[in-house]
Symmetry: C3
């Protein structure tokens, strides 16, 4: 049985196959009855409305049905019951499981007890491979991924999304610029892992210093709770805010991505620029997740 737990489990051929499948789907070349009669169980032990709706939409577009356990219910299920038991029971109700869980490693554990395929939709500080795949897919829509020069911006210490993306990009010989405030730098473990995979990271503290060299600017949130007080947060947040003036400094073809939701990191005036690809990026989640469901359920 095939699970999709971590982007680390996929080699380049595996990633390309999923991205190719997503491209076929986006071009409407797919069987809308592919998963007719099949049932997907979405177990969300923490809320993630976008991810959930995007998987449900993907399942519906392939003719299948979704059953959802949301985080409110999960908190009552969890009351004393092990994740292993929950997974074993739900395995009898559905044909595949999409799991979102606050604890790192939960998806791997689930895959060991499930009698159906498991897709990790985010487990704590761990992995969220469908996000990474849709990030890659969005880049590939604009340019070849090979050798892409990407700037990762924001909280790179706690940001699971940027870690997974960087690991995946190492399959494509990407050049990575890491731009983060002091204290929120990319963890040394990730930098070492990237080095082992042949990818070097250059660190910056100001996006202005590197933006002219980038093909992709990947923006993420900087969370207030990482800072001792509001003043120091606002100080940092404002210097990491993407504006049309900043985008002016970039090459015209540079694209701006963001995993969303955004809360001020990107000036709404940027939305109208051709560089802004973050809404398309979110929309690609459906095609990419259709490809993933097709991969594990057929």
């Amino acid at each position: 049985m095939r699970h999709i737990i971590s982007i680390r489990d996929l080699d380049r051929a595996g990633v390309d196959r999923l991205l190719d499948a997503a491209a076929e789907i986006e071009a409407k070349r797919y069987d809308p009855g592919l998963l007719r009669g099949r049932i997907l169980g979405l177990l969300f032990f923490e809320p993630s409305t976008r991810t959930r709706m995007s998987f449900e939409s993907a399942m519906a577009r392939l003719g299948g049905v979704s059953l959802t356990m949301d985080s409110v219910e999960a908190s009552s299920v969890a009351k004393g019951e092990t994740l292993a038991d929950t997974i074993r029971v739900v395995s009898g109700y559905v044909d595949a499981i999409v799991l979102r869980h606050p604890r790192e490693g939960a998806a791997r554990l689930a895959s060991e007890f499930a009698s159906v395929p498991v897709i990790n939709a985010g487990d704590g500080a761990g992995q969220h491979p469908s996000q990474t795949l849709l990030d890659l897919y969005t880049i590939r829509k604009s340019m070849p991924i090979d050798g892409v020069r990407i700037g990762l911006l924001g909280d790179l210490r706690y940001g699971r999304t940027t870690h997974s993306l960087a690991i995946a990009l190492s399959l494509y010989g990407a050049e990575i610029a890491a731009v983060s405030p002091k204290g929120l730098e990319l963890p040394s473990g990730i930098i070492r892992e990237l080095a082992d995979r042949g990818t070097s990271v250059t660190e910056y503290s100001a996006v202005e210093d590197v933006i002219a060299d980038l093909d992709v600017l990947y923006v993420t949130r900087i969370q207030r709770e990482r800072f001792p007080d509001t003043a120091s947060y606002l100080d940092v947040a404002s210097s990491y805010r993407i504006t049309p003036e900043l985008v002016e400094l970039a090459r015209p073809e540079m694209i701006v991505l963001h995993p969303l939701p955004r809360v001020g990191e990107i000036d709404p005036r940027v939305d109208a620029l051709p560089n802004a690809k973050y809404f398309e990026q979110a929309h690609h989640g459906v095609s990419v997740r259709m490809a993933m469901l097709g991969e594990v359920m057929t």
Copy 2:
């Protein structure tokens, strides 16, 4: 692209077309696969179980699939994200959006950012056109709407439902009796708007004074929190309670409507009278919403 945001956007031909379509649907003359393969997104920023289930039922009866974001999730989504962003993202997941939101004007705003049709399912003190259409539909099942004499009863100041219905009825030359406790009268703005549309309103404080002249008695809730103390609330509530004895004073063909839920405004003994149409009214919500979904999605 067609949205349904306010009953004010519809002219009489538009309303009649939707009511005619609902009648065809109720007579089982419709294609149960009309929306096969289509996806409806229900974004409920406040709970409204009846409206939600009724739209989901309508979508299912047309062969389509519904994805729902409930108010618990919405509160986490809303955390900092603008409605505009939420709408833009969800537009990529679904083929139409039904929006319920506590803020007046939210549905209009959503329609400006959506790349799919938006149906307003209630936005604060604003509009709730599907409720108004099912009210009209229920009247039309019993009598011609033209020139109908209707009594609107209860809290007419804050009651969005009665405002929308009155506006819609002005398309049909209705005569409106407004019966409300002191302080909860129909707002003067609505009365002026109705006058501009050629409809005059007569105000009453006691339903006994007008019930013998009515074709339709439209009952709504009077909420406790509008009153300074329980005694004054109970005093008013009891004098606006519909009983079989009160219905005796009316013409035998008069029908009693209520948007539901009721909590004491209508004596359960009224349920058995032929005048009681409020449960049928609720049931008509499905046919009317099927007509609305067909209108915007095909």
Copy 3:
């Protein structure tokens, strides 16, 4: 119209017909489009994730659609509205209702106001017939139900599940051993009812005293809140814990059942024994519920 409210409403032929239908379904001999175009309303006034997902899965496998009102929504619906009104309204949206409610008798009441079939999915201390049917079905997969010797273990005073199962087993001439801590014995009313149905109950306080004679050991939870302090709870709980060493004392064919979730009543080492049937038992919920939906909706 046919409702399924209590196992007491079913005679042996009725139970056998449902179990036979479930067996056909498990063998994949059923029409996956049987309920195409039909809508099931799941009204859950208290959470029960397993029961809900299992019914939704059953409905989906028969080609139908489920609409769900969860307990969070229900608490706002319930605000002042009677259950009778809720049921009358929802009857217009769906083709059958599955009701979960904290109040005993709620399902019977609902069936009196519904214009569609009602299935009781648990009402307080009352009935939960689908659980009983899947229990019976699981027994029948391993042995004839007739004359089965079953040990009911745990809190037999408050345990609705064991009461219903015992009543149902009385249709099959079962021999019942009731094993419970002091103060949590089977109520005398149930013992009398079983006697009236020709079934005698033998009571034990230690499972070791009877396990060698059993065909089925049915384990249930003992809830902490029934005990004055943690020490007395732990004392009792440990002496009702099922371990591989305990199972050694039984006949090799004895099966162990549990309605799940478990929280310590069964040592996970038991999971690997051929006697452990509790996960299969949970999975049979889908086939059994498909049979029930077929029974009431066709």
